[in-house]
Structures are given as C-alpha cells and as structure tokens.
C-alpha cells in the first residue's frame, strides 16, 4: 500500500511541502535573491509590512476584487445557467458557446483584448459611448485611479463567467423534470422553484466552485493586473500577488516578498476554510 503511494508522496513533498515550508522560512530572512548573503531577521519583515502603505493598498484591492468579482460571477453564472436550463431558448447552444470561449483563451490574450477595448482613443468602449452620444461617460479606463481596478474586475468576470455557468448548467440539467412539474402543479413560481428545488440540489457543486473560485480569483487577479496595468497608475491596481512579485523579483527584497507570500497564504486559506464551513450541509439525494 505504502509502496503504491510513495511516488505520489515524494512528488507532493518535493513540489508542494518543501516550497511552502521554504516560503515560511525565507520570510524570516533578508536576502536579495541572488547574493550568497542571507541574514536572519526574525519577524522584522512582518513588522515592516505594518508600516507599508503600498501593502495595505494591495490588500484592500485584493479584498475588493475578491468580494465584487465573486459576487458578480457567481450571481450571474447561476442566473444565466438557470435561464438557459429552464427556458427553452432557441439560441441556447450558441450562447453557451459564446460565453464559454473566454475560458479557452489564455489570460494574457484576454488582457490584450481588454486593453484594446479600454483604449482611450480608439478603444471599443469609448467609441461606443461616442456613438450613442454619451461622451461625458468616456474614461481613461486603465489610466484613472478610480476606475482601473473595476476595469480589471470586468475582465476577470468575463474570463470566468462561462466556465461557472457551464458547470452549474450541467448540475441543473441532471435534476429530474418531475420535481419542477409537481411544484408547478402546486403553484410554485419560477423563483420559488429556483430557491426550493434548484439551489438545494446543486448546493454541493455551488459550494465546491465557490471555495475554488476564491482561491483562483487571487491568482487570476495577479495575471490580469500584471498584463493589463502592471499595478498602475500609481499602484492603484496593485494586488497582493503582484506586490509580492514586485518586491521579490523587481525590488530584490526576496525575504520581504516571502513575508507577503505568507500573508497571502494565510488569508486565502482562512477565507476558503470559512467559506467551506459556512456552506457545509448534508448532500441531498434525488
């Protein structure tokens, strides 16, 4: 038994356990990342975090994206999945295909597409606004500190929506039609059917995807921020992972970067754990 598990355990230890432990260990040192000089400084890196305004801003941006993007993606994903499953739309397959395409594309390609859409002069968004005489609504979407984070958030929603919609659609399709017919005869409205039949029966799927999305949103925000804005303008779109990357690899403060990594690890782990606890329930059989 142990012999069968050994190769997997070795790979897990080498590629998961050792690097994770090393992140915690390195957070206690100052190191440029290249020189052989490593100095043990205890919790100094964490003390510096408290005075670092850029870190607080990056943390605030991460929490904002986590809350807003998760709420919008999950809400819209559920809504669209319910519409496409329950309503016999003619263009259902086409819509599903169109909404799923972003998930197949590379995140960097999505960043390039949205950078073109948000272009100040020739971008699709500002051109559309000019076309419908809403010139005053035009923005420098990736250059204005007030809107840049939400511009990145929209790209995140666009990238993830199709995947979660298809995931929920597959769960909803497996619910027996008789349950809806019986509740319809009893006078239940479509909303009532959604909350009393659909939601409880897809709950396990919803729960898993929610926990998974929280972890992936932290990673996805890094790639999009890195490719679309580089954290700017003036660090207003910086997220925790991009700030960690900047400190560890651009600023040559590897130990400080790893201290940020420890905070990200603890935060993601805690939020996922609490979410998992909050949504725990007995699975329903049908």
């Amino acid at each position: 038994m142990l012999a069968c598990l050994l190769p997997a355990l070795v790979l897990f230890a080498v590629f998961m356990v050792y690097p994770t432990v090393n992140v915690f260990r390195m957070s206690l040192y100052t190191w440029s990342g290249f020189s052989p000089d490593m100095k043990f400084v205890g919790l100094d890196n964490f003390r510096h975090l408290i005075d670092d305004e850029q870190f607080v801003r990056a943390f605030q941006n991460t929490v904002t994206l986590l809350v807003v993007v998760t709420a919008v993606t999950m809400g819209m994903g559920l809504f669209l999945a319910a519409i496409m499953t329950r309503q016999k739309l003619r263009s259902r397959n086409f819509l599903r295909f169109v909404l799923y395409i972003p998930n197949v594309l590379s995140v960097v390609v999505i960043a390039a597409v949205f950078s073109a859409i948000y272009d100040q002069n020739n971008g699709l968004l500002n051109s559309m606004l000019r076309l419908v005489s809403l010139d005053s609504w035009q923005q420098v979407w990736l250059g204005d500190q007030k809107v840049v984070l939400y511009s990145v958030g929209i790209a995140m929603v666009w990238q993830s929506l199709g995947y979660y919609m298809v995931l929920y659609m597959s769960s909803m399709s497996s619910i027996p039609e008789e349950l809806y017919e019986a509740s319809g005869l009893d006078g239940a409205s479509a909303t009532r059917q959604f909350f009393s039949i659909t939601m409880p029966l897809i709950w396990q799927n919803l729960r898993t995807s929610l926990t998974f999305f929280i972890m992936s949103a932290v990673n996805l925000s890094f790639v999009l921020v890195r490719a679309m804005t580089g954290g700017g303008p003036d660090s207003s779109s910086e997220v925790l992972l991009s700030y960690m990357y900047k400190q560890a690899y651009t600023n040559s403060s590897y130990g400080y970067g790893m201290a940020i990594g420890v905070v990200i690890f603890a935060f993601s782990f805690l939020v996922s754990l609490l979410m998992s606890r909050a949504t725990k329930r007995e699975p329903l059989q049908f």
Binding site: E53, Q60, V67, A71, P200, A278, K280
Partner: protein
C-alpha cells in the same frame, strides 16, 4: 405574523445586508489604511455569516 410574510421579510433583510456589505467594501477601498482594511474584512466576514445563516436550516 404569517409564515410567507416572515420569509419575505427575512429575504429582504438578507438582501439589504448583503448589498450593504458589498457597498462597504467598495466605499472603504477609496481610503488607504489599516482601519479601512479592517472594515473591509469585517464586511467580508459579514457576507460569509449571511451565507452561513442562510445555510443553517439545511444542516
């Protein structure tokens, strides 16, 4: 109070609290500081508590 009224009231209150938590996160983000970050984290905790309270009757 009738059961249907109570349910409608509960749904209304939950929706309002959820919207308030999201709004709080968006508003507090505008100012940088540990205090503001703390309020944002509280709002996030509020959203999870809301989810837990909705889920409680199914446990």
């Amino acid at each position: 109070m009738k059961d249907s009224t109570r349910t409608a009231l509960l749904v209304g209150v939950r929706t309002l609290v959820a919207a308030a938590c999201v709004a709080l996160v968006v508003v507090e983000r505008k100012t940088i500081g540990w205090g503001h970050l703390g309020i944002m984290l509280l709002a996030l905790a509020g959203l999870m508590a809301l989810l837990a309270s909705y889920n409680r009757r199914y446990q």
